[in-house]
Assembly symmetry: D2
Homo-oligomer: 157 residues x 4
Amino acid sequence: MEPGYSVSEDIYVRYAETDQMGVVYYGNYFTWFEVGRNAFFRSLGQSYGLLEENGLLLPVVEANCRYLAPAKYEDQVTITTQLTNFTCSRICFSYMIQRGETLIATGSTVQGFVSKSKGRPINIKKHHPELWERLQKLLPGKHNGVVANAGKDLGSR
Amino acid sequence: MEPGYSVSEDIYVRYAETDQMGVVYYGNYFTWFEVGRNAFFRSLGQSYGLLEENGLLLPVVEANCRYLAPAKYEDQVTITTQLTNFTCSRICFSYMIQRGETLIATGSTVQGFVSKSKGRPINIKKHHPELWERLQKLLPGKHNGVVANAGKDLGSR
Amino acid sequence: MEPGYSVSEDIYVRYAETDQMGVVYYGNYFTWFEVGRNAFFRSLGQSYGLLEENGLLLPVVEANCRYLAPAKYEDQVTITTQLTNFTCSRICFSYMIQRGETLIATGSTVQGFVSKSKGRPINIKKHHPELWERLQKLLPGKHNGVVANAGKDLGSR
Amino acid sequence: MEPGYSVSEDIYVRYAETDQMGVVYYGNYFTWFEVGRNAFFRSLGQSYGLLEENGLLLPVVEANCRYLAPAKYEDQVTITTQLTNFTCSRICFSYMIQRGETLIATGSTVQGFVSKSKGRPINIKKHHPELWERLQKLLPGKHNGVVANAGKDLGSR
């Protein structure tokens, strides 16, 4: 994860999240990523739920996870979330899952900006300029340069 | 389960449904009950999704399960669903989960009839008379007598 | 819930826990009950995970929930767990789910005591007397009298 | 997906799998991938559960999904699974999720071969040669050339 703004949230592993291998089921890490995104937005004083109420949905269009060590029942794990990139139409997050000092998983998601009423992609620079401004300040490293690259990175996926 | 109309659906136990005890997590049986209800409505040519599209929600107001034997990964289990009771405002189902001849769980749910647009209870005898008629014919045993008792049974819960 | 020892734990509702009705899926309350049980055991300095490591499993044999009001995404809900009863072979908990002052659900579970190595019921008064002693002190109201009734209550289910 | 051996399995979307956006929660696609892998192994007359009983675990070390169109409650979706690659220590699958002719998601997973008793990576060419032989015949296109590349592909991840 690059130096810069990130948000961490601690959770305890639930029994429901384990599987018969005795560790957390791989699909449940994506729920943790969502818990991390939620904490990220909450840290902005702009909860994700509020975005939805204001007509903006962020459906996931891509998700990835690499599993480095198992997480077990009752482990306290820390989810760290960072905004890595965004364009008018998409936003990218990266995640680290740690148990104490041990890195147990890393991941990323890409979300689209979608109008709730129209069910179609929406240009947030145009329709949510205040969100656009706020996100700019949260990118790791610096600002305009990174954003300028964002479109290319996303385009090449 | 009483003699009468019931609907059975087979599923395979998923790895995601197990927990570290090596058996299906107890909360997941309620998802199976929902799969059973879905099959029940589908058997009427009246899917539950269609009910929702027609403005009728059936939120669960009570749910119970008794666990008699564990279900394991890759088990093929049969979910049998029966309508046990209904009134103008509520509907009750019972469920059996079997693996072959072995009964592994029984359960029940009570659902309310709620108007999607108003978010409030709705009288289905009045507003969905065709559904009311159809449900009458599906009660185990027979008809008016059981329905007459339904209100009392529900009231005493 | 009766006056007496109980343990409360706060959680935020996750997006993954909602369903298309816009509220928490009914089966997920049972995961919350498990989170409550976990907090209950943790408060004793005797985590549930540790019980399992010591060879004692507590599979759920019965679970019930009544839903009074919906829980929504990002709600902060409080899970309160109380030991209501136990015998040599079983243990009963009750649960309250609240959002602030609003009671949104109540529930109960019954768990059996099972030997991990033998996969069979185990008499905890005999094999885990220290646990037996500790649980006695946690019953609401009082002690021996309630325990004496426990067997009958359970037997009549 | 390349021409070659693949296995398809149909499922109905469950209510529990939806979220408040009215579509299937993104994390649940990974459960579907697991259902696909299960069907894949079952088609070989060698269920995944049996592999575990024989001491071989396949924990996921990497998982990816791209979401192209939403899946909705009661949709019948087809999960198609293909073996794309394997080495002595790892195995890769790709997945397609379709609703009728519509491709709604694609994904991939990488799994390690782990000894259940030792909890450590295991060389399947050496310790499970019959599995190694069988997997060779299932690769899309053809055989040794692809397998020879597998190590490099995996190594470069």
